[in-house]
Structures are given as structure tokens and as C-alpha cells.
Amino acid sequence: MLLVRKLVFYLFVVAYVVICPLTIAYALGYLVRPGAEQGLVKTGLIYLSTSPPGASVYVGRRRYTQRTPTSLRGVLPGTYPITVALKGHRVWKRRVAVEAGHATAFDHILLLPDVLRQHVLVSDRCEELLASTDAHLLVVRCGPLLRDLRLYHRREATLLPLRVPGVAWQDARIREAVTMRDGAGLVLSVASREGPRWVWVDAERAPEVFLDLTPLVPDPVAEIQWDPRESHLLFVRSPDRLIRVDVERGTSTLVAAEALRGVGMFRKWLYVVSREGTIERRDAGGKTVEVVLDDPAARALFQQGRFRVVVCDEDTIFFIGERGELLSTQPPYLLLKHGVRDVAWDPLQERLLVRQRERLGVLEPPDRGLPKDVLARPGIRWIFTDGSDLRQAFWVYDGSHVLIRDGEEVALLERPIGDHPPVIQTLVRVQPRSDVRVVEPAGTLYYLDHPSGHLRALEVFPTHEVVTLPFREP
């Protein structure tokens, strides 16, 4: 037994000495290439994960044996035509560049069905879908008057009129609607018989909850902000002051008797651009808690005009100026000089989507996992430049895609991987002046169909979980 044990021991030692470096080399992408050019070569990898899974993978015309999610290993550096196909779904095709030692991961390949399923929710003609309200509610406007507002309850699939007490109110003409992000609040500017009025409606509790804000808000109203966490508190900015309105109590309080250049809200804190060009964090009472930015170089930029303040987190704040300039609190402050219509933050990947009239760009941190350095190396990568009139753009599907509304068309843009050009897939045509809304994780797109004006729902994204990690690879 002892002799056997010794022999086997040395055999295993030799096995380890041989297998261990080979396994590590394989893990790093090294392979022995047979044939004339024999030798150790460093290969790359292509990772493909689709939704729905189980799609066939083709490299050129050769079909790969495994189905998605899968990895193509030992791929020599170069560019390969990759096709992913699943019966009943649109084919996904790319030319994929592979680098030695690198993995090119397409972990959110969305295989859209050949025919997208859509449902007509409201067959009446509607004029506008107000994009941002509570996830369970959609507010649609079917005419110019207040009584033309309808609430679509997604769970119950019912459409009810938004009833506002008083005949005079019913006939008021809607001039402007301000909706809350992720909330059911709605502030409307209307032209009633008594003159211009501001009204607040809690769409979730309508028709009971309604408040005439006109006596409480300054004139003119430059901007209204509120925090979904405290949806009863509105912060109304006029050119010379900032008022806090408590809609439940029907009271208003002066927060700042000064001409602020912009106001944003994040987790109950106010982020303001002062008249002097400093950025301050203030409490709900208007007291300055922290000066976020007070730099002469920045003041020069912030001392002119008005700004829309977009607070992504405590350290990541963006400002959109009147000319569409994009600024941040990190040097060099000015990211784009003009033309920015809006931005959208991706909290998962910590990237900013920048929308201009004709193009979309992404501002990314230099390395993942370093959110504080998000702007350390500013530089916007333009991922889509063929737009005509980009009205909406936001991250969807775990940030793997961007949904855009370009004029009358709604399209899905796959996030570009490396230097691969983005792929765009047109989904539907919508009413040109109406917003669209995507409710996740249901993955449904709500829109007003063009030209019928019907409220419709389109199932774009799968409801099942996406396989994003290689651990689950079969």
C-alpha cells in the first residue's frame, strides 16, 4: 500500500504541475494553436446572452453547438460575423471584434418577436399622454379642456375621467401640465373663466383630492419641483423667490427671497443654483446645509441665465442651461456648450444619457465601480447621430438599451459594446406631440398610436429575468 501511495502521490504531483499552469493559461485565454502556425496564442471570448434564451449562434455560416446563453471561447483575435437566431424572433447580427485576452459580452441581447404584441387600451382618440405619473396610472388628454383629462388605471384596465369639482373648472383650458417623476401628483396650468389658474391634482386619489394653487403660488411660475418621497410639498420658483406649498394643508411658506437660477430635489434636499453662481444644498426650510460648489471658474459659468438642475445622487449633479449647455459640479464644469435638450441617468451603470435634437451621447465613468470619478475624464461618446427631432430618450431594460422617440417614431437602440456600431430597431409610430412611457419590469410601452390617437400598449421587453452573469451558463 505504501508503495502504491508513493507512486500515486508523485503521479498526482506531476499532474498538478502540468495541469495547473495549463488551466490558468486557458482561463486567461491562452490556447495551443495546431497546424502550420503552431504555438501558444492568446485568444478572446464572445459572451452571448439573449432574452428569450435558447437562441442558435452562428459564426459566419457555421452554427455553434450550444445555445444562448453561451460563450464562444478560444476565439482568435479578429472580426467575426455573429448571428443569433430564434424562431419567431428578429435575427440579431453583428460584426464582433475580438481582442486577445478580452471578452466581448453581449449580455442583454433582446430578440424582439417578428410581430410585436400590442393591445388597444383606449379606442377613443387622445391628444397627449402625460409621461410621468405613478406606475399604476396613465394620464391622457383627449381634448384641450380640463374635463378632457382621463386616468387609465393599468391594473384595472379602466379609463375614468379626471373629475375636478366646479363647472368653471371643467371648462378650463389646459395650458401646461407638470407631472411628477414616479409619483401621482399633477400640476396643471389652466385658463379658466376667472383667469389663469394653477391647480394641483393627486391623480391616484382623484377626484377627491384637488387644490387651487393660484393663491399660494407666485406669479409668474418659473419652475415647480417636488420629491416623490414627500409629494405633498411643492417647491415653486419664481424669478425672485422660492415658495414651498403644502398641498395637504393648503399653505405656502417663503423658502428663499432671492432670485435663484435653478432648483433641483433629491431625497428631501434642495439643490439650488444661487444668483452668485454657487451650488448649495439646502433643507426644506431653505437653510443652507452645504455649499456644494463655490469655485470662481464655475461661478463664471453659473452666473448667467437659468438652469434645470438634475440631481442623480449626492455627488453627481448636472445642469442644463437655457441655451442647452450641459454643466456639472466637477471640473471642467462645462461639458457641452449648447443643444442639450435633456439628460437621463442610469443608476446601475452610473452613466448619463445626453439628448440633443439630432443625436444621443453617453457620458461614462472611466472605470466601472468608481462613481466618484464619473466626471474625472469628461467626454461624451455619441452613440446615435441620425435623429431628426429627438423628443424623448431614456434607459430601459437594465440600461442595456435606450428607448428613443424621434419625431413620430419610437425606436429601440441597443447600447453599443466597445466600438461596435449601435443597432436601432423601429417599434411603432406615435402621436408627434405626445410622450411615451415604459413601465418596467413589465416591459410594456404605452403610447398614443399615430394617426388613430388610440392609447396602446406594446410588449417590448420580456418579463422574465435576464441572464447577465456567466455563472449560470450551462
Binding site: 500515486v8 486567461l28 471561447r73 485576452g101
Partner: protein
């Protein structure tokens, strides 16, 4: 110069050296765990590569051990039908030994066993050290009692009285702690009264509590008893070199062939007075009454010992063991201040005889109790403490290392072999489960944060999963072997008792961490910090066992 196999009374550089060696296992284990943890966050790429190397090492080691587990199990199966007493009697007729060949229709196992026997006889003849006359061989069995009552001890004594080897040449010593309860002492007296006539003698030796230089450890008790037995043997004129001393746990039950098997190995070993004899401890007395985790854990312990038997070069005594009484007296009995007396006596003898000492494997089982404290929670706690006590065997490391550094007569290769085994064994015990089950997965996950576009990010989990998949071969082998290893469930148990048992093995990752690595790390940390442990008796319960079953 006699080496002081104790940490008591050390001064100057010896004390410093002892402390350094005491710190080494714990410091290494903590460094390994903390290092891998830090590296996983700090340099996940490097950590992921290291984990692959570690996992591969573990896989090969596991397959290696599994191979020898199977071989050892086959060897045990081979000897199950062996009539050890017949062999002992055959050897007793030395030098005219007649080896009766097995009948032509005998099972292959019997033939193979006979062939091994023949070979060993030839080797013994070639050694020029003939076996002692059978009639002169005596056995001393010491059974320590501290909290163990008559119900726990008596089945073991009964099993000794039913030996094929003449019990009239077996001296049983019930080593009762002076601090034991009256119930324990009365139980010992009753056993003595019942069984005295069947043996050479049954002695009840009470060990006074708090003797100078002693710790509250089992070694002190059994040493006291062994000294009393020595006087008896001297009075009866039995030479010590003809006596085989066995130190059994109080709950040990042996088969009727056990003493014959022990005698056989004693007679067949040319260096019989420089050897310890190690059987396979199994925990069958109450195995079906114990909780799942305790059952799996103790079967694992038995398997580990099975594997150990295949390497006599580094075999160290564990639990119930036997040795030449002469060697025991020569080395000055068991250490009286160490908890791990079972392994410490081996190391003490190895050092005393300058490396001329060995462990002789015996392919026979003896059965003990699985820890069972009544409730699941209490049992879990008691098992933890028991395993910590076992892991406290790490206290031998500084003593052995200090001895090796002083005793130049011990061959260097032996020093290296034993040192590596002792060190790697204890560090591995405390670290492998954590490394494999928890820390080893971190780099594969974290590498994605910094190198999401690396091939390694996608390869590492796949390779690790493959390694774990291959490792399941070992797990399956263990499950299959354990099915043949276990006794039948008691009557009245439903048929699915055994099926449920198979699924209990899925608890291995958790068990290996909670009752494997954690107590070992606990023990090493205590040694590192100089917080020395004392003996702590585990609670064992079982249904009445009128007939010992092994």
C-alpha cells in the same frame, strides 16, 4: 538528554521558540483567509488566478484521498471475515508455523487476505525478530471515566469479556477521576464486581484531583492508572514488553476479534516495542439516534482515519489506540498536561526513540458514540466543542517542532515528513472549507467589477464549477462507501431512513465550515493567543445496548 514534552516550566529561548511555533499555525491560517479575502477585493484578477490553482490542488488532493479511501475500505472489507485468533494461534507456534491455505472454493477476499498474511510472515522471518510466545502476551485496557456512567462504560467492558483472545490475559483498568460523581464511581465499582472474574483482573483506580504538574486532562488520569497497572504486572511477573496497552474512550465497544487482531499486529511487527497500533474508530453505537450533521461528521472522521491507515509512514494515533506497554513506560506514560493525549503519546514516543517509532495500521473497527446531547442545539454545541478539542491537537505542533530542532538523531526526511503533515493538516483543516465554500467564489464575482471584459471573468466561474463537478465524484464515492459502512438502522425505523441519510451528505459544505474549519480556527486562535484549553468531556447518549455491536 531527555526532551521535555511539555510547555510547562520552559524558560528563555525555549519558551520563545515554543511560543513562535504555537503562533505559527493560527497565524498562517488567518493570513491565508484574510489574505485571500483582501486580495479578492484588492487584486481580484490575481485572486481569481490563485483560486484556480488552489481549487485544482484541492481537487487532486481530494481525488487522491478518495482513491486511498476506496483502497482502504476494500482492505477493511477484505479482513472482515478473517479469523484473527486462528492466525494468532498459528503464529504462536513459531517457528513451525503452518499456514493453512484457504480452500479452493474460498472467496477471493480470503485468498488475498491469506496472501498478505503469508507475505508478512516471510517479512517477519526475514527481520530476525521472532514473535513473542502467545501465552506470555497480556493486554492492558485502560478506560477513563469522568462523567461517563455505568450505562456508557459497561457495553465496552462486556465486549472485552467476549473476546476470542483469552480475557484471562486482559487486565481492565477503570480509571476514575477523583472529581467524578458518586454515581460514576459506584458504576465503576459495579462493573468491577460483575466482570472481575472474567478477566485477569478489573481494577478501579481513582485518580486524585489536582496533583502537582497535572492539568485537568485525560492523559493525567490514564497515566495514573497505567502506573497502577504497571505495579500489578510487576507483581505478577509479566514483562512489560509482553504487554499491549490500550487506551479506550469510555464508550468504546469492540468486536470479539479485536484483541486477537491487536495481538496479531503486535506479534507480526518486528519493532513491536517501538510501535503504536491504530484501529479504525467508527461511531456506530448510537449513530441512528444522532442528528444528521453529527452523523455525517463522524462518518467523515472514520473515513479520514481509513485514509490515514494507508500511509503508515506518517500514521499518528488517534482516539482509542494501543501501544507496547514497555514503550509507554519508557517514554514516561501519556503527557499529563496536554488534552490531545491520543496523538501526543505518539509524538512523545517518536521523539523519545529518536524517530524509531511507528504507527501500525489495523484494519479492524472499534465503535464509539456519536455526540448526542439530547436536543439539536445542545448537540451542535457539544459537537463543536468536541471538534475543537480534536483540533486542539495543534498543541503538539510547537512541541514536536521544538523537539525536532533539538534531536539531531531523528532523520531529516522524517522530520520534514512529519512537520509538513502536522502543519498542513491543521492549517488545511481550518482554512479549506472557508476557502472553497466562501472566499474562493469572491474573486470570480469581484473580478467582474474591475475586469468585466477579461476572458478570466468568464472562465473562472466555469473552471471552478467544473472542478466542483469533478469533486462530486469524491462525494458520491463517500456516499456509496458510507452505505456499506453503516450498521443497519434499528428495527422500527422507516425504510426511508437510509434514503434520508443519502441526502444528509448535501450538508457537507455547511458541516465542514461550522463543525470543521470553525472549531479548528478557534483552537488555533486560542493557541496563538496563549489561551490554553483544558479537557472537556462531551455528552453522549444512546439507547440501552445489551449486546455490543460493531
Amino acid at each position: 538528554m531527555r526532551f521535555q514534552f511539555s510547555r510547562q516550566g520552559l524558560e528563555g529561548t525555549e519558551r520563545i521558540r515554543e511560543r513562535i511555533f504555537e503562533c505559527l499555525p493560527g497565524a498562517t491560517s488567518w493570513t491565508l483567509l484574510a489574505g485571500m479575502l483582501v486580495l479578492s477585493f484588492w487584486k481580484p484578477f490575481l485572486a481569481a488566478v490563485l483560486v484556480i490553482a488552489i481549487d485544482l490542488y484541492w481537487l487532486l488532493k481530494l481525488l487522491y484521498l478518495t482513491l486511498f479511501l476506496v483502497l482502504s475500505y476494500l482492505r477493511l472489507s477484505l479482513e472482515r471475515q478473517t479469523d484473527w485468533m486462528a492466525r494468532v494461534e498459528a503464529i504462536g507456534r513459531w517457528p513451525t508455523v503452518e499456514l493453512t491455505p484457504p480452500l479452493p472454493h474460498a472467496a477471493p477476499a480470503q485468498r488475498l487476505s491469506h496472501w498478505i498474511f503469508q507475505r508478512r510472515m516471510l517479512a517477519l522471518a526475514a527481520s530476525g525478530r521472532p514473535p513473542p510466545p502467545l501465552a506470555q502476551i497480556h493486554h492492558l485496557v485502560i478506560i477513563p471515566m469522568s462523567t461517563e456512567t455505568q450505562e456508557i462504560v459497561e457495553p465496552g467492558v462486556t465486549s472485552l469479556s467476549r473476546q476470542r483472545f483469552p480475557p484471562s490475559r486482559i487486565l481492565v483498568v477503570l480509571a476514575v477521576e477523583g472529581r467524578a460523581s458518586d454515581e460514576v464511581k459506584a458504576g465503576a465499582a459495579r462493573i468491577q464486581a460483575h466482570s472481575c472474574a472474567q478477566f485477569l483482573d478489573v481494577m478501579v483506580v481513582e485518580h486524585p484531583d489536582g496533583l502537582p504538574g497535572e492539568a485537568r486532562v485525560k492523559g493525567a488520569n490514564v497515566t495514573w492508572a497505567a502506573k497502577a497497572a504497571a505495579r500489578v504486572f510487576q507483581e505478577r511477573g509479566v514483562p512489560f514488553e509482553r504487554v499491549v496497552a490500550s487506551c479506550f474512550d469510555a464508550d468504546t465497544v469492540v468486536s470479539e476479534q479485536y484483541m486477537a487482531c491487536l495481538t496479531y499486529h503486535f506479534m507480526m511487527c518486528p519493532q513491536r516495542t517501538r510501535a503504536s497500533f491504530q484501529p479504525i474508530p467508527v461511531y456506530h453505537n448510537n449513530i441512528w439516534e444522532a442528528p444528521a450533521f453529527a452523523r455525517v461528521l463522524d462518518i467523515g472522521s472514520s473515513f479520514f482515519q481509513l485514509i490515514e491507515l494507508t500511509n503508515p509512514q506518517t500514521l499518528v494515533t488517534f482516539s482509542s489506540h494501543s501501544m507496547s506497554f514497555k514503550a509507554l513506560v519508557d517514554v514516561g506514560y501519556w503527557p499529563i498536561d496536554l488534552i490531545s493525549d491520543d496523538s501526543a503519546i505518539f509524538w512523545k514516543a517518536l521523539v523519545h526513540f529518536d524517530g524509531d517509532y511507528r504507527g501500525v495500521p489495523m484494519y479492524i473497527t472499534l465503535s464509539m458514540d456519536v455526540v448526542n446531547a439530547g436536543t439539536w442545539r445542545r448537540t451542535a454545541l457539544h459537537v463543536y466543542r468536541q471538534k475543537r478539542r480534536w483540533a486542539w491537537g495543534v498543541e503538539n505542533f510547537p512541541l514536536v517542532m521544538r523537539a525536532f530542532s533539538q534531536r539531531n538523531a531523528i532523520p531529516l526526511l522524517d522530520k520534514i515528513r512529519y512537520s509538513v503533515k502536522l502543519f498542513e493538516g491543521h492549517v488545511g483543516w481550518a482554512t479549506w472549507p472557508f476557502l472553497l465554500n466562501v472566499i474562493g467564489w469572491l474573486p470570480a464575482i469581484l473580478v467582474g467589477r474591475e475586469f468585466p471584459n477579461s476572458v478570466l471573468y468568464y472562465s473562472a466561474p466555469r473552471i471552478t464549477a467544473l472542478i466542483f463537478g469533478l469533486a462530486s465524484v469524491s462525494l458520491l464515492t463517500s456516499i456509496v462507501l458510507s452505505c456499506g459502512f453503516l450498521p443497519r438502522p434499528p428495527d422500527g425505523r422507516p425504510w426511508w431512513t437510509r434514503v434520508r441519510y443519502l441526502f444528509e451528505w448535501l450538508l457537507v459544505p455547511l458541516i465542514s465550515m461550522c463543525w470543521g474549519a470553525l472549531p479548528a480556527l478557534d483552537a488555533q486562535t486560542r493557541l496563538l493567543l496563549g489561551r490554553y484549553m483544558e479537557f472537556w468531556v462531551t455528552e453522549k447518549r444512546r439507547a440501552p445496548m445489551p449486546v455490543p455491536v460493531v
